[in-house]
Symmetry: C2
Amino acid sequence: MSDQPVDYHPMWAELGLDLPTHDALLGAVGQLFGDAYLTQENRPEGMGYLNFVMSEVHGLRIKELDDYRKSGGKVFGTFCLYVPEEIIRAAAGWCVGLCAGAEFAYDQVEQIMPRNTCSLIKSFMGFKLAKVCPYIESADLVIGETTCDGKKKAYELLGDMHNVYVMELPQMKRDVDMAMWRDEIRALMAKVEEVTGNTITAESLKAAIKEVNDKRRALQRIAATRAADPAPISGKDALLATQVAFYDDVPRFTQMMNALADELEARVAAGEGVAPKGAKRVLVTGTPMALPNWKLHDIIEKAGAVVVGEEMCTGSRYYQDLVSEDAVTLDDMVDDIAEKYLDINCACFTPNQGRLEDVVRMAKELGVDGVIDYSLQFCGLYEMESNAVEKTVRDAGFPVLKITTDYSMEDVGQLSTRVEAFLEML
Amino acid sequence: MSDQPVDYHPMWAELGLDLPTHDALLGAVGQLFGDAYLTQENRPEGMGYLNFVMSEVHGLRIKELDDYRKSGGKVFGTFCLYVPEEIIRAAAGWCVGLCAGAEFAYDQVEQIMPRNTCSLIKSFMGFKLAKVCPYIESADLVIGETTCDGKKKAYELLGDMHNVYVMELPQMKRDVDMAMWRDEIRALMAKVEEVTGNTITAESLKAAIKEVNDKRRALQRIAATRAADPAPISGKDALLATQVAFYDDVPRFTQMMNALADELEARVAAGEGVAPKGAKRVLVTGTPMALPNWKLHDIIEKAGAVVVGEEMCTGSRYYQDLVSEDAVTLDDMVDDIAEKYLDINCACFTPNQGRLEDVVRMAKELGVDGVIDYSLQFCGLYEMESNAVEKTVRDAGFPVLKITTDYSMEDVGQLSTRVEAFLEML
């Protein structure tokens, strides 16, 4: 590669981005990343890869998607864990997350949806309306899901602007729900085959299951090292790894995360860490933190504590379970996929006892001093469930702090004060 | 009946109500009813029955439920149209709506659920926590449903305080959803049979279908007269009829509503109305208005207009469709019930094109001058769908006003100003 920086503006223009606004966005995200990430001390060497990914998040990666599409490949954009990447990859599709982690163009968003909508939904709609997300503009199909009222209705609005397909997620986990969900996965297969023009076979699905499991295994290795005291990696860096997992090339990402895990395991063996041994250890649980939402982790870690786990979709829910690799027939593989995905404990299910068990188990395994229950304001599901989370966590003997916030930076001072007071109490 | 008023306090005490708080509530509702209803001029004689029902809403009706339960009968409390009354009645259960239309004990509610929850949900929880709803205290089983994020999670909280069973509603209306919904109705049947100890037979279900259809037919007759100019009944009175339909004894209510319909039809034939011919005619669409939520109708009609239709769960969605009466076997009847109920066009479905068609059809059939789209604040579904409603209604040539409010009376002045400005523009 030459030293001359590549000018991606022609590619962004071809995708239809609003170039001046997009330049401003990249500048802001770069600044945010610098402040939150590059100020950290004693980071693992392996984070160099994620720094590079971030520096090229709208550049090189989009170029790869662009090249793939020009060679006949198809790209699928998703917003949610419940869309099985295995199915997409088995038809030679590429799966990418969509931009949703920053306040953008809310003035335009509030013309078509209520102000009282959670930041994640307002954000994805803002990125679309302002034409600043190269991922959604690269997506041949956006695959939505009926996980919450807000997203369910937002996909209807998005459907006026983009090619959208919506999967229906059941709301309980009984046998009848599993049966319905298996059908839903099969319907998605048919849709993905139609869009890609490729047939999913037992061979291709088996390979895709292995490949995505390998990605999860690499993230599991990283997660496991965080049980050590001192923690070998900051919560911010570990969060970034999960966030990037939604966007990056799968085999490359897996390889780089295994290299990072090697380094973290060596650090643990040597008793090395990012924060001093004995630093307060925090588990964060709640609504997903989409890239570049690093706000809470940044506050916690700048206050001297270390986040050692995330019980969230950008955390353990993403990687804790694998799809069985035992199946031989296509049908059995699809059933295994359905089962793994329905096992995810999102607050959209009723009841959702599994999540409460996960939080307590993680708090114990990771040896945390306290739990922070994080809700995006107007996320009715997680806000409503936090009553049970707090009660369960307290009953298990862990102090808990409930934080409700959004993507704005206006409450950072106030949140810092609350977090510091909580940490002092631990 | 003697002239001596009955003292229901012993009955309320037996139900576990908080007597002083409940007395205060009844006083407030009585005052509200007086101000909104008894100040109306030229009301149909038939409204005398509904005045009486309201005066005894926590009295005589609760006594009836109490007597029924003491004779071995079972009472089922519901919050939503999707719970089929036919199934409950076919097992000799009685079905009642639950209190949810007034601000009550929000201080207690906000200790267990977010402040940003819609009034309807906060209200039902407030009535339960403050022990002032004799309907829920009379319910052997509360039957909830997964219609929205808020209710879905609120039933988990309610489950800690009451006997609750939750039906899973699909989120789309495809064949697979209908299949799932049929199973769900059958699961409800089994539950209702278990609670009542009675078996549902083809005979009992056929009779229940006929009985509930008759109730809907009576309400359809009333609704049809509202197409006349002048309208023979105020919107407030028609709304009250639908609200009471959730609570009252079915055959008695049907008989009284048919008598009211007779009177209204005679009024129409004679050209008599409640407002002058030519008064502005308004269709209201949106979130349900649970008893005693009369706020918007009162504002509209005190401004000199008349509400001639409600496209809402406390309106046309309640009575516009009937269950087919053709089926002979129990299985076919259950399928007919599933079909009728899945036809209801709630914003919880995606897509929900049927609702848009209903609104426009009603606006035309009722000859309205304008449409008011009513959302409860924090009701993500209806707030989100209002973008499509407004666009569709405007495209069909009707002016539309969007109102977002809650159960407080603080914004009545501001809403009145907005409604008056809208009516002047028509």
